[in-house]
Symmetry: C4
Subunit: 209 residues, 4 copies
């Protein structure tokens, strides 16, 4: 019941953020040159939209898998969850920024990509706070045994570690930074670590096909 | 429980998208000529609003009917569902584009209508991915028997097949494309295929009156 | 379960619409004259905001009371509910229009108030469609007995009948139209018709204090 | 069940409001000077964003703790809750106003900070209305005994009393007002009044760690 409300609030935030992403794709419209040309300039914003959409999607799926195994919801957890949401709602803003600067030369594009990477860093690092809360005693229906915690942690630490590379790559090539962000999405979409998944989430959510 | 969260997240996305549609109807306001004239120019955006509103509405009703019969929710299903949502959140953007170009002559209007059709194509085709996932063994409370699958598939394939016509019609007449989209809505609102509905959804949702 | 999803989707739409209302209050900001003056010009938009906020709030409370007594959810009901939502999401747009034109002299202010009244007419009339659906046999946990239906109908028909007056008043004085809309809110907030409420909603929702 | 719908609607409103906050951080974009400079001018809006984010977050957590203990949901409660939401949805608007005027000298900055404080005053004072409703007989699973009501009230009255200081501070220094608002957030995040919490919320929500 209490967990239910944590999930409803979080899902509503994820839903609003993921829908606002699409608004970034609006074009200037009539009076700003042929539509075909305007749409052709939208391919980079569109790729950024796709990658950010799945970034939020992956956060939602992982949040779902993690939270569904919790036996208690404490005041601390509610605030750790707010820290995660704080970064998730910045994703549409950072995506708009990146999309606007991606095609421009100069320092702006590098900086925009770095800001984009920092928002990803924040949201993936917030997940670790929630994981560490979850690993303490009495908080999960099927607690992760000590010898599997390393694997569980590895899976969650991989995100923030890779976003550090995204931030670094931003200063080399903004498109490389965006590509790396996309690779993080793909990893979490196709990632299959049965032992870990079984330890973290309940079987009815985890079995795949 | 797990299905509940899939439904809550999807419903929140549908709700935000359907509400953002209405924002496209905002007029320039004072200082842009008589209000009566501004409103008179809004009839095409208003028709586009109505049609897109029921497009999202139909997606919601069909999603409701389909998902309510699932016995499991797998990680794959969550991502197939995200693909559906990816297109649904583009509907307000594509509707705004169409509304802006509908009354203009030239290639822009044709292209805007084609983009609108492509978004509809994407959302209706995503439904097929979810249907095919559902038709595999052990996933529905009342599985569709093999001899009725053809009918079930037909109902879901009709949407994407008609949206191909919408895309084609866009290059003949944008209003024809919009009208065809409206016809797809009307089909799914009034569609009554008892055998199929009984196979797909639970009786308590399906009986109508 | 099925009713739950109808409620979640509707609540999400009401929530987005009611939150978007507040965005109409944004002022031009720095560089457009003293802030005190800008805020002073916001009192009419603020009154319009308050009235529309409680209009959506009343729709939510009444929807809650009515739907919580349903024993079935049919496909027809889902679409009748969509018709209601179609008008609810127009309330922020109509409120913005009214707020912009309210202080101007000329036909624009009358027309804007009439459009505002028509949106209210649409949303309150949609409720009647849902009521009539509900009054048919087998659809409510505590069906309204035939001799009380007149009272039940009266309560729901009062809204659309008064909105007709709002539309008429719009052409006399826009502020009168807005005031009448506020009066409809006040009526539904304080309305206490025990016999009727007991027939329509379950006791646990209806008892007040 | 009835309480569930109150929670879902409120959570959806909180979620939309908290996500809209982030949109205030959008920068002018290309053609308005170097991005580094534009971002540097965003630190005050960013601090305002952080503080308002946790203001809404605290409202959500406290709403959750309070409402989860209710045994009944009356029509009065629904409208008292709407009054709370009326102010919550104004938080993004007031935050945008404050962020725009914070760095400007002159009366505008003082006035913007005062408006910001008034919105906080409204939302925290609305909570008292809900608390007073809850303290009446038969409305909580674990009613607050008379001798603990003073402590319970104190906790809820502290918010609106401090926001009066925020409004006063606004006319001395807008940043001071913003800092005080942040202090209110911090108080409610770290506040631990075991006796009171045990009296107000159910143990499963209240135990922390």
């Amino acid at each position: 019941m209490s967990r239910g409300r944590l999930e409803i609030f979080s899902d509503a935030v994820f839903a609003v953020a993921i829908t606002l992403l699409a608004l970034n794709l609006a074009i200037p419209g009539p009076g700003h040159g042929p539509l075909a040309g305007q749409l052709a300039h939208q391919w980079q914003p569109f790729v950024a939209y796709l990658i950010s959409f799945f970034t939020i999607g992956v956060v939602w799926v992982n949040h779902h898998a993690l939270v569904s195994g919790f036996t208690v919801v404490t005041r601390s957890l509610l605030f750790l969850n707010l820290v995660l949401l704080l970064f998730v709602v910045l994703i549409p803003v950072a995506t708009k920024l990146l999309a606007e600067y991606l095609t421009l030369s100069g320092f702006g594009a590098h900086l925009a990509a770095a800001v984009y990477g920092m928002v990803g860093e924040g949201s993936s690092a917030s997940f670790i706070l929630i994981l560490e809360w979850a690993l303490r005693e009495g908080r999960m229906q099927s607690p992760v045994p000590p010898d599997r915690r390393r694997v569980a942690r590895l899976r969650f630490y991989l995100g923030p570690m890779t976003y550090l590379l995204v931030i670094g790559a931003a200063f080399i090539n903004p498109l490389l930074a965006l590509g790396l962000s996309g690779a993080i999405d793909v990893y979490y979409i196709f990632e299959q670590t049965p032992t870990m998944v079984r330890g973290i989430a309940r079987p009815d959510n985890a079995d795949d096909g």
